[in-house]
């Protein structure tokens, strides 16, 4: 990496790292340190091929998502956030308890598997259509659909407080494909 490339890389990181870190922390179930590690590894990959990347942001995001769901990442020490118990919510939250519900949801999201969480982050935080999620993760649309369906079901199982919530559109469709999430390397 020559001086010009380094300067351009620094500029990109200065401009984009805060936004990328948000995604990385969400993918890591709210663990800031794990999110920083995830982003750091993605940026190291990007730095290695900086001259060949036209759109660094798209590249880094793709690496983030795939890194998170790929099996080889298991070779690195896992820093999954372990939550022994969900946050105390007192009585069942009502309409005014939106903040508590969000906390309950946050705790439940942290307890999903990395794959389940990644699919939800892509669908509901990045607001990507199923086809785009499938392209990024290198799997079929059916796999994305079933993974979304199962992830939402798992959230409900983890947090009974969510029982009163209406079903998501993804839950109203039959999920046909129950194969595991495949990942292309």
């Amino acid at each position: 990496m020559d001086a010009e490339a380094q300067e351009s890389f620094r500029e990109f990181v200065a401009n984009r790292s805060s936004a990328l870190l948000k995604t990385a922390v969400l993918l890591s179930g709210g663990d800031r340190h794990a999110g920083e590690d995830l982003l750091q590894n993605a940026l190291i990959k990007a730095a290695g091929r900086w001259h060949r990347i036209d759109e660094p942001e798209a590249y880094v995001r793709q690496v983030l998502y795939r890194q998170q769901v790929s099996r080889w990442r298991l070779k690195w020490p896992r820093r999954e956030l372990t939550v022994a118990e969900l946050p105390e919510t007192g009585t069942a939250p009502d309409a005014s308890g939106a903040a508590e519900l969000r906390l309950v949801m946050r705790g439940a999201l942290a307890r999903l598997t990395a794959r389940q969480r990644t699919v939800l982050v892509l669908r509901y935080f990045e607001d990507l259509p199923e086809g785009e999620v499938a392209r990024i993760l290198g799997c079929s649309v059916g796999t994305v659909r079933s993974a979304t369906h199962r992830s939402l079901a798992r959230l409900r199982a983890l947090a009974p407080e969510l029982a009163a919530l209406g079903p998501a559109a993804a839950e109203q469709r039959p999920a046909r494909d129950y194969s595991p999430v495949e990942v292309r390397q």
């Binding site: 990496m1 351009s8 200065a14 984009r16 936004a19 190291i44 949801m105 939800l120 998501a168």
Partner: protein, 403 residues
């Protein structure tokens, strides 16, 4: 509430609560990369002891000195990009500016030989950070802060200006003007409005001999002057501006819509013209005055205008160093530099701009919003590509405001 809505809320809430990345994050990444590479090389070259001794020495990066960071640091220059959205659904922002609204245009035929080019706006809701269609308005300017917009009703020119609360979609106040207006712009501090008065609709379209579609009337202007309005009190002053040699003088003709704007410091009004010298400056009584020192090189058709600190001016298409690029000029000397971007739209900070730029298909009309940096090679996409076809829903025009 559905479970997916709560997932969305919880994720956004958690993301919004994240402090920005620490300064020097890039240095940290580069240092770790160097260490890992050094280890790999060291393993490979284990037999060549002398070489290993050199390679494993990890240089200490001089953190900060070469760190190219836009002024204000990471936090203030946050970028909210949606490279998959065109037209955008969710707020797009970079540094100090946000895409406050966008509009599409279509020609609405009124008779066999007359039409009006009408805009349809989508305005940002500062609460949900989403763009919402609001087809009540023929013209919209958004005030700094993204809370209020100045709106003009349909059937231009109109006798009143509305102050629209963007969160509720309600007009909070109407400001009447004694000469009807068709264009409006906020000063940089949001305290004043300049409203351009016309005696006829400047967006009317006609059939010109030899042309297939609708065209703006050529060498016809019905502009009469401008009002400067104090937003807080609603009081206004009027400045009548002669057309300069008459509406049909080929040496001084104006486009049918040629609105007035404020200079960077908000002390003068100015407007472009289709002929040399390309622009004229006026005090608030309508008297023509010399160009201020820092605005001499400004072009009225380059939306980005003067940089936040007033030292640079966004210029026209350059296309020398890259296939698509634009000039940025020193406001005092006019000295040019080139920056990526086909068309410069707004300053994100003292060093970066939001621009339209083309993609790999090379189609000059197929553009997306990008962030470009002076002295930088890379562009950061902020939106998806807009349609190259005029007067379609896919071809949207941005309206920027300071956030």
């Amino acid at each position: 509430m559905n479970v997916d809505e709560l997932v969305r809320d919880a994720l956004r809430d958690q993301a919004d609560g994240q402090p920005p990345a620490a300064p020097g994050f890039a240095d940290r990444v580069l240092a770790v990369r160097l260490r890992r590479r050094s280890r790999r090389l060291a393993t490979a070259a284990v037999a060549a002891v002398a070489v290993v001794a050199v390679v494993v020495a990890v240089p200490v990066l001089d953190s900060g000195k070469q760190d190219v960071r836009p002024s204000g640091g990471v936090e203030q220059t946050g970028i909210t990009a949606h490279p998959d959205q065109s037209p955008p659904r969710d707020l797009i922002a970079a540094g100090r500016v946000a895409l406050a609204a966008y509009y599409t245009t279509r020609n609405v035929e009124q008779s066999a030989d007359r039409a009006v080019s009408e805009r349809t706006y989508w305005l940002v809701n500062p609460g949900t950070k989403k763009y919402v269609k609001d087809d009540r308005w023929s013209y919209v300017a958004v005030a700094p802060g993204l809370r209020t917009a100045a709106v003009l009703e349909r059937e231009l020119p109109v006798p009143r200006i509305g102050l629209l609360d963007l969160a509720s979609g309600q007009v909070k106040r109407w400001i009447p003007v004694d000469r009807p207006v068709a264009g409006v712009e906020f000063s940089a501090d949001g305290r004043k409005l300049v409203a351009t008065a016309y005696s006829k609709n400047p967006d009317r379209r006609v059939k010109i001999d030899g042309s297939q579609g609708w065209d703006a009337p050529f060498m016809e202007s019905d502009r009469t002057g401008f009002h400067v309005i104090d937003v807080a009190s609603g009081s206004s002053s009027w400045a009548g501006v002669e057309l300069g040699g008459g509406a049909h003088n080929p040496d001084a003709f104006l486009n049918s819509r040629q609105d007035f704007g404020f200079t960077h410091d908000g002390r003068l009004a100015w407007s472009g013209m289709a002929t040399e010298p390309g622009k004229k400056f006026y005090d608030f009584t309508g008297k023509e005055v010399p160009a201020p020192a820092l605005e001499r090189y400004r072009d009225w058709f380059v939306d980005a205008g003067v940089s936040p600190d007033g030292q640079l001016v966004a210029g026209q298409f350059a296309g020398r160093k890259w296939k698509t690029s634009s000039f940025v000029l020193d406001a005092r000397t006019g000295k040019q530099r080139e920056v990526r971007g086909q068309q410069l739209l707004a300053w994100a900070d003292g060093n970066s701009l939001v621009a339209w730029d083309i993609g790999q298909d090379g189609n000059e009309y197929h553009q997306r919003l990008v962030l470009v940096t002076i002295g930088g090679e890379k562009t950061t996409p902020l939106s998806d590509f807009r349609s190259p076809k005029d007067n379609t829903k896919g071809r949207w025009e941005p309206v920027f405001a300071e956030r």
